[in-house]
Symmetry: C2
Subunit: 192 residues, 2 copies
Amino acid sequence: MKRMEEMILSEGKVLPGGVLKVGSFLNQQVDTNFMREIGDEIARLYKDDGATKILTIESSGIPIAISAGFAMGLPVVYAKKNKSSNVSGDVYYTPVKSFTHGDTNNVVVAKEYISPEDRVLIVDDFLAHGSALTGLIDIVDQAGAALVGCVAAIEKGFQLGGDKLREQGYRVESLAIVDEMTDDGITFRPQY
Amino acid sequence: MKRMEEMILSEGKVLPGGVLKVGSFLNQQVDTNFMREIGDEIARLYKDDGATKILTIESSGIPIAISAGFAMGLPVVYAKKNKSSNVSGDVYYTPVKSFTHGDTNNVVVAKEYISPEDRVLIVDDFLAHGSALTGLIDIVDQAGAALVGCVAAIEKGFQLGGDKLREQGYRVESLAIVDEMTDDGITFRPQY
């Protein structure tokens, strides 16, 4: 998505430790006009795949999932991060390690919101090592639902999570893939 | 908003401890068609007030804020909950006590995303004791921005936070106000 690359170049900031800050338009602050374009692009990518539900993870995946839900006319479910190891009730859960924060959360979805009949499209803001997507895929598997595919707004190609998932046979679409990121500039993987 | 009351009656569940569960359409799972109506209603309520930005708090306020942002053509900023007392960087923060979880989080917004020129509309899913709204109002005050008003999707009138804020002179609109909630039924405050 050309516009995503343009937004990253004009608004993004490369910080130490491999951090790409896009808080001015994608998370923390959300440019709703651009977010609508993101939703439309996700709808275009997956329009023929019969998705029945969009699954994301709090918090920064939610704006993207809602926009895609609007564009595709689908309900959205967001997984919650639960720091306590004590997960109760009728839920699916899976541990997800955060490389940014260095801790592990249980990612939790109430069973009633994903059924074996569902065809699930997974959406998130960032794809780096792939731990969040892997956790969400595990939840779709636990539910016995079908996985249509995954979308990340921004993939950090150099952290290899996306390519590992593709090698496992999953369809993973990223609206922009950053293959290199230095103080001097950002190199995107050619996609179109 | 008549439709909000209807959705609460048809989909909501009253749980012990004064909990109203609306996870099937408002949080956890989001009915995006109904969420679009919520955004349109918020736009109708505040169409003449010159808001420049919508402020909410992660996670369950985000779908409502994004929908309102779409309907009003405004950017959305969401405050983050930071469990560590150690808040660094150029941020506004204020402590917010959660009555549901019994703990206190710092609610944090990067200073660059709210300026003194902004006219801020605050949006959240639930209004009970009013602690989240009070914290967000404090952040708007710290930024020197103008507060246009507040919207809650559902107000628990019997927990009095909304009325306390109204007594202090704030404009607080709730799409449905639950004045009583028992196993036998839900009583809404007449609003229209």
